[in-house]
Each structure stands twice: as structure tokens, then as C-alpha cells.
Amino acid sequence: MILTKIFKQVFVFLAIITLLFSCSELFAHGVDENTKKFLIGNDGVAIFPYLYIGAKHMVTGYDHLLFILGVIFFLYRGKDILIYVSLFTLGHSITLLSGVLADIQMNAYLIDAVIGFSIIYKGFDNLGGFKKLMGYQPNTKLAVLIFGLFHGFGLATKIQEFEIAENGLISNLVAFNIGVEIGQVLALGLVMILLAYIRKSPVFNNAAVITNTALMSAGLMLMLFQLTSYAFQ
């Protein structure tokens, strides 16, 4: 009954959260040691390594993935998925490239806190929160584009921490950006298969409510984590 239902919900919820944070190395979501050494040591054009680092950053970057999951959660037409993902890509490409090239320095923790907030926003939006509580639906495409800009700043900030050599900077950045898109497509494919599978299920509506509530919660945890890191730095 109601108690078992709540119990079940909390269980699924915790399972999802545990999965998300099971690896503390992932939690730090920086760039691992070897990558760091490469980034600092490299001088000149290195297309493939940057492609790889970009793709890896995206695939292991649960903050970007959670947001993407929220964005495509209720999209089932290929055309819509393409539009939204392109908007996200456009947004983060603009800020990734211009952020590094114009040498715009931002606090990584604060940017990551905004990324956490983007996940809360999308989860709440998916639950129909804005329409219900404010009586109006903010433009979903615009929101994806704007949050895309912040995600790009996050990527730019991380890349800038390594003072990459000027030599070959633009080629390497473009390679990194393309890598990010490859990683995104890979991750999207996985998420879409999972979603297609549960969409047919009779419990989809329940799963949708739980997952989007979990998204809000995970986003809030990320935000708390980043803001606390900011306070402690």
C-alpha cells in the first residue's frame, strides 16, 4: 500500500543515486592523472588524444549526462531529439571555444554548481512543475541552449586549468569539442535504448516521476557539493 509504495520509491531512488556516485573518482569529475600529465606535457597539434579526452570527459561526466537524460526524457521523435541535442551542442561549443580562446576565467565550482542547478531545473520542468505552480511553461528550447552555454563554460574552465600550449591550441580545442560530441552521441545512444525500453512498460509513468524526482535530488546534491567545495577552497 502507500507505505510499501513509498518504500519502493525510496529504494529505487537510492539505487539510482548509489549508481551515480559509486565511484569516488567519478565524483571528483576532474581530469585523471594521466590525462593531466598529457595535457600539461603536450605541445603542438594532437588531434586524436584530444578527441579521446573530450569523448571520455563526456562519457564519464555524469553531470552532463544527467542533464541530457532530463532533456531527452520525454522526447521520442528523432527530429525532436536532434533539435534539442543540437541546441545543447551549439550552446556548449560556443562557450567552450570562446571561453578558452578569450581566456575567460571562471570559478570551476560555481560553474559546476550552475550545472547542478540545470539538472534540478530540468527534472522539475519534466514533472510539469513550472506549468503547475507558475501557470506558464518557460521555453524549453531556450533553456537547453542557455544551460548548454554554462556546460560549455564548465568544460572550458577544466581545460584552462592546464595552461595548454598555444601551439596547436585551436586544432586541439576543436578536436576536444568534436570528442565531446562523440561522447555525447555514445551516451545518448545508451540512454535512448534504455528509455525506449522503459517507455513501453506499463510502469513508465511511475518510473518517469521517480526518475525526474531523482534527477532533481542528484542535481541538488551536486550543487551542494560544488558550493561546499567553493566555500572550502
Binding site: V10, L127, G128, N205, S217, M221, F232
Partner: protein, 182 residues
């Protein structure tokens, strides 16, 4: 139960009550997991004593060992990049203060190959003793050095050419920059 809006988004129709309930559940779970688990593990703070109950300080200690394998240094972690100009027909030294077993990650390049001596001098030594880690002639060197003792560590470069030579040195680690030593 589902409703299609113009953008193609099907959204879940929740009552205002369950929307608020779900949001509160999300907030409560996030805050409780944060304060009972994440805060103790990631920040070493244990305001509710849950870290102790769950045995988390051990985990925290383990994480600490992983991220800081070397002795706790009295110096802050930092990254530096410096351009060093070695005048024609002369040599100079650039050094860092490090505690025992701490790590200096470095990379330097010079315009032409230079004779160099990468070495360390123990703290408090007055006899002029030093230990060389690498003596060679090269236009670049890269690596990570775990220093065997507390003291100043760094490079001596000798420029035998008739023109000044630029050496670009990038370093990171827990150290204090001593800089030029003549």
C-alpha cells in the same frame, strides 16, 4: 495521463500536491545524503556523527592516502610557469623548496641544448654537499621527482653559446619557489 504539447514533449501530469510532495522528497533526500555521507567523506566534516556510525572516516582516510600519497607537505600545492633567460657564456640555477618525499612534476624546454645538473641540497647543510639526480645536455626534460630529503632542489643550466638562451620551466607540486640562485 500523458499530454502532448507542441514541442513533442509528453509530460507527466501531476497534481499540485504530488508535485510539491515529490519536490520535497527530492530536497530532503539530497540534503540528508549530503550531510550524512557526502559531507563526511568528501570534506572530512561530520556534523551529525553519521560518518563515525557508518565507518566513513576510514573511507575518508583511504581517499586521502590515494590523493596525497606523499607526506603531507607544509607547502601549498601550486603550479608555475617561468621564463628563465640564461645570459651568454654563463650559467644559473633555479630552485624550489620541498619537504622530504614530496613530489615535483616538471617540464622545461630551451632554445638550444644546454648542459644541466638537476640536483638537491639538504636543508641546514653548510658543507656544500649536494646530490645530483640528472646531469646531461638536452634542450628539454620532463618528469616527476620524489625528492629524497628536505631542502632546495632545482636545476643548474650552463649556456656556452654567444647568445642568451630562453628556458621555459613548468612545475607543479607542493613547494615554495626559491627562484634564482647565483
Amino acid at each position: 495521463m500523458n499530454k502532448t504539447i507542441e514541442s513533442g514533449i509528453k509530460d507527466v501530469e501531476l497534481t499540485t500536491k504530488s508535485l510539491i510532495k515529490n519536490s520535497l522528497v527530492a530536497i530532503v533526500i539530497a540534503i540528508s545524503i549530503f550531510y550524512t555521507v557526502i559531507y563526511p567523506i568528501e570534506f572530512g566534516q561530520d556534523p551529525l556523527g553519521t560518518g563515525k556510525i557508518l565507518g566513513l572516516p576510514v573511507l575518508q582516510a583511504a581517499t586521502k592516502v590515494e590523493t596525497e600519497p606523499m607526506n603531507k607537505s607544509m607547502y601549498e600545492f601550486q603550479k608555475d610557469s617561468v621564463d628563465i633567460i640564461i645570459p651568454a657564456k654563463s650559467g644559473l640555477e633555479y630552485k624550489f623548496k620541498l619537504t622530504q618525499f614530496s613530489n615535483l612534476t616538471y617540464k622545461w624546454t630551451s632554445e638550444i641544448p644546454l648542459y644541466f645538473d638537476f640536483h638537491g641540497e639538504p636543508k641546514g647543510d653548510t658543507t656544500g654537499y649536494f646530490e645530483s639526480y640528472t646531469i646531461a645536455t638536452s634542450n628539454k626534460m620532463e618528469g616527476s621527482m620524489t625528492v629524497p630529503f628536505e631542502g632546495v632542489h632545482g636545476w643548474y643550466w650552463k649556456n656556452t653559446s654567444d647568445e642568451e638562451v630562453l628556458v621555459t620551466l613548468n612545475t607543479q607540486g607542493n613547494y615554495e619557489v626559491v627562484g634564482f640562485v647565483h
